[in-house]
Amino acid sequence: MFIRTYIAYLKKLIRTKSVVFWVIVFPFALGTLFYLAFGSIYSSSRSNPIEVSVVVSDDAIKEYKDINPAATDKVTAKDLPISLMLKELKYEDDSPMLKLFYEDKDKAKKNLKSKKVKGIITVNGINDIILDISENGLTQDILANIISIYKSNTSIIEEKITSMIESGNLKVSDEKNTSMIETGNLKVSDEKNTSMIESGNSEVSEEIFTPDTEYTEYVTNKALMGDNNDPYLIYFYNLIAMVCIMGSLSVLDCVCSAHSSESYEGMRICVSPVNNIIMNLSIFAACLTFQIAVTLITLIYLIFGLGINFGGNLGYIFLTAVLGTLLGCSLGFFIAGIHGLKLKTRNSILMWIMLGGGFLSGLMFANMKSIIEEKMPLINRINPSAVLTDAFYSINLYGIGDRFMRAIYYLVILTVLLLSASIILSRKKEGGVYASV
C-alpha cells in the first residue's frame, strides 16, 4: 500500500499544473530576476569599495589605551582593532572592500543623509559597535554582516581565551593584560598565529595559544567569506532556502487531502482499512521526492543555467538543500498532523511560520538574524528558516567547518523532532473531525 500510495501521490503532484508552476516556475523566475538585478551590480560594484563613515568616540580610544600596554599616546581611531579589520577587508582581486571616512558624528550623519556613504559605523567601545544605515540594500546587508561577524568572532575569541586562562593553558603577565584579553582585544606576537586566526574563520584553534604565548593580536578577519567570498550569493542561498521551506505547502495540502474533513477523496480513504501512519508517511515520501527534485532542479538551473558560482562547496550545498527540503516537508507534515484544525487555519499557521520565520532569519533584513541571536537565541534554534539559512550562511561565510556542522546538526535535530511529532499525531484516527448536518 505504501508504494501504491506513494506512486499515486507522486503522479498527482507532477500532474497538478498549479503546483508545478508555484514550485518550479516561480523559483526559476525569481532566480532569473535576481541574476538580472545583481548582474549589473556584480560588474559595477564588485571591485568598487563601499563608502562608510567611521565615528570613533574618545572613550573607545581611551578604553583601548587602558587595556593595551603597547598602546602609546599617539594611538588614533585608525589604530583600533575594528579599524584595522575594516581596512584589511578585500575583494578577490585584492582591491579594498571598504572606503573609510573617519569623521565626527554630525558630518557622518550629513553624509549618510546625502547618500555619500552607505552607512555609519560608530565605535563607542572596543566591543560596542553600532551600524547606522538610511536604507536597506545589498551593500547595507554586507556592512551588517561584517559588523555581525566581527562581533561574533571577537566574542568567540574572548570566550576561548577566558576558558584557557581558567584552565591554566594561557599565561598572562599582569592584570592589565588579563583585562585586555578578556575584552577580546589581543595582540598576536608572530606571523604564524596571525595567519591561523585568519584562516580559522571564527573557530580559533587551541594551537594558536601555546602556553608561552603572552600577547596575541587580533589583526584581521580576511577569511570573512569562507571558501566563497561572494556576498551576493546570500540572495541565491535565500532563494534555495525558500524553495526548501516551500515543500511544506505541498505536504500540508496532500496529507490534508487524505483527511475526511478536508476532501471527499479523504473521506473515502478514511472509511477504508488503511493504516493512518503508513498512508501519511507514503504521502509525505511522495511530496519529499517531488520537492527534492524541485530543489535540485532549481540548484542545477542556478549553477548551469545562470552560471551562479557557488564556489567549491557544491556537494555540501546540495546536501544542505536536500536536508533543508526534508526539514520543510517535515514542517508541513507536522502542521497537517495537528488535530481539529481546518485547512485554512493550517495554511495560515504555515504561512506565518514561513513568512515570520523568514523575516526573523534575515531573509528580508540581513541583520535580523544577529539581533535574534543576541536577544532570543532559542528562536534561531527552533525557527526552520533560521536553522536552514544558518547552514547556507555558514557555507558562504565560514566555509565547511565546525560552524557548518553545528548548523547541520541543528537542522537534523529539528527535522527529527518535527517528523517524530508528526508520526505520533498520525497515529490517531480521524473520527470526530468530519462535521456535517
Partner: protein, 312 residues
C-alpha cells in the same frame, strides 16, 4: 436472516442542535434499505456515525454483528461508500483512480487487477480507462465514483444521495446498477430525499425527520399506514372559494388544496374517484387544462405524519 447493520439509540449533538435523537434501526442481509428524509433530517449524520467518520454522544453501532469503531479495519474492509460528491483524483486516469481506491482494500496485485477490470466492466467505463476524470461527462464521472466505491466487492454498500444533480438518464443507470449489485449479494443502504427513487429500488424504507424515525416498512406498508387512497390533480387557472368548498363535499374527499394553479383533491376511501370530480366540474363549468389521478406516494405518507412535504 443475518443482521448486517444495527444502530441502537444513536444520539448526536452539534452544540444546541440534536441531529440524531435516540435513533435506532437494523438492516438484514440482502436488503436495499432506504433512508428517506428531507435535507437536514440526519441521513448523512447517520451514515457518518455508522462509518465512524463522526463521533456520537450516545448509542451503539454494530456492523456484521461486531461493534464498529474507528479502528475496526476488519469491518471497514467489508464496506463500500459512494457519497453524493464525486471522490476521485482529477490528476489520475480512470483506471488509476479505481486501482488506487481498490488498492486501499486489496493488496494482491492479480486480484486487484481483476477487480478493477470487473468494476470497469460493471460501470461501462472500459472505453474511458485512460481518460482523465476532468474529460468525462457528468454521468460518466458518477459511474467512476461508483466504480471506486465498489471495486473491492464490499458486502455492505452505502449510497449517500448518489443521484444529486444527476441527469435522468444517468440516474436510471445508477439505480439499475444498484439493483444489480444487490442481486450479486450486496446489502445496500440508500439515502435520498427523492421518494420516487427510494420507492423504486428499496425493499424497506425508513422515513426520518429531525433525527427521529417517522415510520418504516415496505413502500406498500408505509402507504397502508395513512388514510390517503387516491389523489386527483387538476391544472386550473382560477377557482372560486365556493367551488373549493363544494369539492370538499364529494364523498371520501378529506383535503382540497389549491396552490400555484394546481388543485389537489385527496381521497380517503377507494380508488377511481376521478369520475366524481369530473361530474362536479362539468356541473359547475370549471375550466381545467389537465386532470389526472395518482396513487399516494411516500410524500403523502410524510405529509400526513409530519404535516409538511418531503420536498420542503
Amino acid at each position: 436472516m443475518e443482521e448486517i447493520v444495527r444502530v441502537n439509540n444513536l444520539v448526536k449533538r452539534y452544540k444546541d442542535l440534536i441531529a440524531l435523537d435516540n435513533f435506532s434501526f437494523s438492516i438484514k442481509k440482502g436488503e436495499i434499505f432506504g433512508l428517506l428524509g428531507p435535507n437536514g433530517s440526519g441521513k448523512s449524520t447517520t451514515i457518518n456515525c455508522i462509518l465512524s467518520l463522526l463521533t456520537y454522544d450516545k448509542g451503539e453501532v454494530y456492523l456484521f454483528g461486531e461493534k464498529m469503531n474507528v479502528n475496526r479495519n476488519d469491518i471497514k474492509k467489508r464496506i463500500g461508500l459512494i457519497g453524493q460528491n464525486v471522490a476521485v483524483f482529477n490528476e489520475l486516469s480512470v483506471y488509476e483512480n479505481i486501482d488506487f481506491f481498490c488498492g486501499l482494500y486489496i493488496n494482491d496485485k492479480a486480484t486487484r487487477r481483476k477487480y478493477v477490470e470487473d468494476a470497469l466492466e460493471f460501470t461501462g467505463l472500459n472505453d474511458y480507462r485512460k481518460k482523465s476524470p476532468k474529460k468525462l461527462s457528468g454521468g460518466l464521472i458518477r459511474r467512476l465514483n461508483i466504480a471506486c466505491g465498489i471495486a473491492h466487492k464490499p458486502e455492505l454498500i452505502i449510497f449517500d444521495e448518489p443521484t444529486v444533480a444527476v441527469d435522468p438518464q444517468s440516474r436510471n443507470n445508477i439505480l439499475e446498477g444498484i439493483k444489480d449489485l444487490n442481486k450479486n449479494g450486496a446489502t445496500v443502504i440508500y439515502t435520498s430525499h427523492y421518494m420516487e427513487e427510494v420507492e423504486e429500488i428499496c425493499s424497506r424504507i425508513l422515513i426520518m425527520d429531525k433525527g427521529h424515525e417517522i415510520c418504516q416498512g415496505t413502500a406498500d406498508e408505509l402507504k397502508g399506514q395513512i388514510k390517503n387512497t387516491e389523489n386527483v390533480i387538476l391544472n386550473v387557472k382560477y377557482i372560486d372559494e365556493s367551488d373549493l368548498e363544494g369539492l370538499k363535499k364529494i364523498h371520501h374527499v378529506y383535503s382540497v388544496k389549491y396552490a400555484d394553479k394546481v388543485l389537489t383533491i385527496r381521497f380517503s376511501g377507494g380508488k377511481h374517484n376521478i369520475s366524481h370530480v369530473l361530474d362536479y366540474i362539468s356541473e359547475h363549468s370549471i375550466n381545467y387544462e389537465r386532470i389526472y389521478s395518482e396513487l399516494p406516494t411516500l410524500n403523502d405518507v410524510f405529509l400526513e405524519i409530519t404535516g409538511k412535504e418531503l420536498r420542503d
